[in-house]
């Protein structure tokens, strides 16, 4: 999974039937120092995250697993809202 921050949301009325009812949130991947890294992506949300919250996301086909048996066509899903994280002495570049 990957660290990320919810920075906004996306509205799309015309979409795949299995996406109806799913919240679409804008997420910015983060590095362990809470700094943005990489592109802003769109994730579905299965834990009720809101803008400003730090979360972790699952990518790929597994992103649709929380919704099975419904086949939600998503490759990014917020599966955890992070309270806090700490990095132990690791010499990062």
């Amino acid at each position: 999974m990957q660290l990320a921050k919810v920075i906004g949301d996306v509205v799309a009325t015309c979409k795949d039937p299995n996406l109806v009812g799913q919240k679409l949130l804008l997420v910015q991947p983060l590095d362990p120092d809470h700094k943005p890294v990489g592109r802003v992506l769109v994730a579905v949300d299965s834990v009720g995250a809101g803008a400003g919250e730090e979360v972790f996301v699952v990518r790929g086909r597994e992103a649709s697993f929380p919704f099975l048996p419904a086949e939600v066509p998503t490759d990014l899903n917020i599966v955890g809202i992070i309270d806090h994280w700490a990095t132990v002495g690791e010499d990062r570049p």
């Binding site: 015309c14 066509p73 490759d75």
Partner: protein, 89 residues
């Protein structure tokens, strides 16, 4: 998923038979403000998107979960037409 803008169409009469009757569109990833970022991709359209529209594209094997693509050889499917993108923080 990624946000992308439809910049063209792709026509291929000779193609895998599971792709027959699918609409192929040319899309370019964009950031929330609409600025292009990254390379182009061919995506199968399942929501009748048109040129110039901002869309939602699912990639990888999850693309096959989009409507009617169960065993189609695809890794990018357009699954939504975006009305608004709001950056709050």
């Amino acid at each position: 998923m990624i946000l992308a803008k439809i910049v063209g169409t792709v026509v291929a009469t000779r193609k895998d038979e599971r792709l027959v009757s699918s609409k192929l569109l040319l899309a370019r990833p964009v950031d929330p403000s609409g600025k292009a970022q990254g390379g182009y991709l061919v995506a199968i359209d399942t929501v009748d998107a048109g040129e110039g529209e901002t869309v939602l594209i699912v990639s990888g094997s999850s693309a096959r979960m989009a409507a009617g693509l169960k065993d189609a050889p695809v890794d990018a499917a357009i699954v939504g037409i975006v009305d608004t993108v709001e950056v709050k923080t």
